[in-house]
Amino acid sequence: MMSRAIFEAVVLGYFALLNLTYFLFILHGLWGLMRYGRRLQVADRAPADYRPISILLPARNEAAVIVDSVSALLGLGFPEFEVIVINDGSTDETLPRLQEAFELVPMDPVVRTDLATRPVRQAWRSLSHPNLVILDKEAGGKGDALNAGILYAGYPLVCTIDADCILDGNALERLVKPFVEDDRTVAVGGIVRVLNGCSVAGGRIGAVRLPERPIEVFQVLEYTRAFLSGRTAMSLLGCLLLTSGAFSLFRREAILAVGGFATDTMGEDMEMTIRLHRYFQTRGEPYRILFVPDPVCWTQVPADLPSLLRQRHRWQRGLWESLVRHRAMLFKPTFGRVGLIGMPYFFLFEALGPLVEMAGYLSVPVFALTGTLSPEFAVAFFTLSVLVSALLSIATVLLDDFLFRRYENVKDILRLVGFSFIEWLGYRQFLAIERTVATFRFGQGAWGQPERRSLAAGSDPGRFRGVGRSA
């Protein structure tokens, strides 16, 4: 009886603590976003407000999207940048399509050896676009591909981006601002939004609409919540542990200082962010790792359950890998807020969360079978969970509408609200099961083999099956 009471207290206490943390994040995020919005209102754009950027685009079997994606990047209005596409041992038509589209000619091999990577077979330069470089290398994973790109990068800032992403026209301009304003900035992450459902023309986002499929709408809610409350709050607190690999900007020297991207993890973006924290905290050097909420990267999200589950499986394992690798930072005051807030949050709520959630679900049938379940309590608790979750979602959607107003159509807003109430009817449970499985299998596997559809077909939710890591 005592053990059961302890179990119930842990589950209920965990539920209360988790949701209290989420609400605090939302309030903190709201304050931060309001402050950011006011700065934008008085901001004065000047021609010299930028730093040149090397965009790194790792690609493995991305033949379906690569030409559209690279063309969209080359069409960005940013004053000075180069695009480095790293073909990571593709077995499809990725390289031939690039050769055909951009008039590639061979160039000299890399001269820098700051990082060890799998061999680069050939480097190519475009004759039609002097700021485009293609590296054709042996397969080594996303981290290895990024490291190879860093060796070729000609500019002090490197932007990592996924092949299935489209940037807003002013995204780089906004993303580079923290580096312009403060030399201590070493990494900045932008917001990742769901491309599914939106119309795309000429490499640019047209009308922003919600996707049709429920599974995609649920992900819109998740992305909005994750970026506008969690990341904003963590950034303000100075303990942001994840700048999305789909769209982040780093100081190249800082990446080199921590030994480049990890090649033996499924979450190289989180691993890099934690490494940067650890490096600078250990040396006592001032640094800033930030999240900026308005440079937007639009990404395709999985449109079917198996792809989504595979994606979440990888994320969960990547999370555990980073937490285990840097366990020495957990609850350590020497690592400041990262050790006392950031790492414990990710450990308690992100990594252990699915396990506690599953324990809660499993306890219901167990107690029912043993005749010790109070149906009234179970129903009331379930309703409470749904309402809390819905309130969190509505609050972030309100925040999004208040500051950015991406969804113009009121029907889309109503659908988002509606889906926030039914998230608990299956969707959350599927993810919790997969993440629990992943928790027990971390440390295995390699970079996934995504299947893509053309970016120009962004409004058609029917055929895409993608598993690119995005958030």
Binding site: E8, D44, A48, L127, P130, S374, E376, L384, I394
Partner: protein, 378 residues
């Protein structure tokens, strides 16, 4: 205690659920209300703001009096519209706008707003005062340079530059070295000042100021092509700081003087590749074409590809350089010959050099390029 089986009381839980349901409903109402309100505000602005802007612009262009709007919200917008239009309009219209802003009380209102307790209001007021061009703004902007909020201080620095008054420019320059602002802010502020009064910026180079300020001054002087600053830039091109050398070399490239050009040719042998690449880019329209062509031809063998690329593009900019590029079509380095071909194409020189290119193709040992030349010329 066993909540699952024997909850102590469901009343508290049901009360929380009911409370949450109310909060959810309120949040939803807030969301829909905000969405609708924003939609209405946008429609409202589209209905009134754009016509007001058009009327104001037409009046200013025709030299007519800017009508005073009757609706109160339009009166508030007029000040905003005038400050947006002032920087893009010519001299006489600028003075008229300044006079209107002073006469109709906009400047006085912004001066009051600059003392607001809210930093974003102070920043916005400071920004508008800078765009107003009014001397009345000067003391307020001077005070704002020491505002407690960094955003207001930055805005004040730029506003002083934008004000267009010599005293304000001096004040901004004197503060530039003292106020910790981002380099880009500094650079763009100095560019604004240099466009109005480059000599003031040049004098900064002779003072003991931090390196970022010197760099920003050099960039600004180069951007406006201020030739009297040549001697200072020549000295800085020899500095030990490679970033400063890059800026000085870039500025000298923009000035286009014989002495500066000689320094650029020398900078092609600099130990830092960024300096070499910048020097190569700066030689695209040389005064002494043979000397520049010879130096850039040597730069086509630079170990850094970015320097080779810039050299190829620079050579495509003048006739002696084009001859070098035609020769480079047979270079051993494939990147150089491909880049030479691309640079000639980009410069639109294929028709003009048809005979030379056909001859080069006939002698070219590389079949891929030979075919490309023949196709391109055809």
């Amino acid at each position: 205690m066993a909540f699952w089986a024997e909850p102590p009381s469901l009343i508290w839980l049901n009360a929380v659920v009911a409370g949450l349901a109310v909060v959810n409903a309120a949040a939803l109402a807030g969301l829909l209300g905000h969405h609708g309100w924003t939609w209405a505000v946008r429609r409202f602005r589209a209905r009134f703001y754009i016509p007001l802007e058009e009327v104001t612009l037409t009046a200013l262009a025709q030299g007519a009096d800017v009508p005073l709007p009757r609706r109160p919200w339009e009166r508030a917008w007029l000040g905003e519209i005038l400050t947006v239009l002032r920087p893009v309009l010519g001299g006489a219209a600028r003075d008229r706008i300044t006079a209107i802003l002073e006469e109709r009380g906009y400047v006085a209102a912004w001066v009051r707003e600059a003392a607001s307790r809210r930093w974003w209001r102070r920043a916005a007021a400071v920004k508008r005062l800078g765009a107003s061009g009014s001397p009345e703004a000067l003391p307020v902007l001077r005070a704002a340079l020491s505002d407690r909020h960094p955003e207001v201080r930055q805005q004040a620095l730029r506003a002083l530059a934008r004000l267009g008054l010599p005293a304000a420019a001096e004040m901004a320059l004197a503060s530039a070295a003292a106020i910790p602002v981002g380099r880009a802010w500094l650079q763009s502020t100095l560019l604004i000042i240099a466009e109005q009064n480059p000599e003031v910026v040049r004098t900064m180079l002779r003072r003991d100021v931090p390196a970022p300020v010197v760099k920003a001054c050099v960039e600004a002087l180069g951007a406006v092509g201020y030739r009297p600053a040549e001697a200072d830039l020549l000295a800085l091109a020899e500095d030990t700081d490679p970033e400063l050398r890059v800026s000085a070399v870039r500025a000298l490239g923009r000035l286009r003087t014989a002495t500066g050009e000689a320094v650029l040719v020398g900078a092609l042998g600099d130990s830092d590749w960024r300096v070499r690449a910048t020097a190569a880019r700066g030689l695209s329209r040389p005064i002494n074409e043979p000397a520049a062509a010879a130096a850039l031809a040597a730069a086509l063998r630079d170990p850094v590809w970015w320097v080779r690329r810039n050299a190829a593009f620079a050579l495509a900019g003048f006739s002696a350089g084009e001859a070098v590029l035609v020769g480079a079509l047979a270079a051993d380095d494939r990147f150089v010959r491909e880049m030479a071909w691309f640079a000639l194409q980009a410069a639109g020189a294929l028709g003009r050099l048809r005979a030379a290119l056909l001859e080069a193709a006939a002698r070219n040992p590389f079949s891929d390029l030979r075919e490309k030349i023949l196709r391109g010329v055809a």
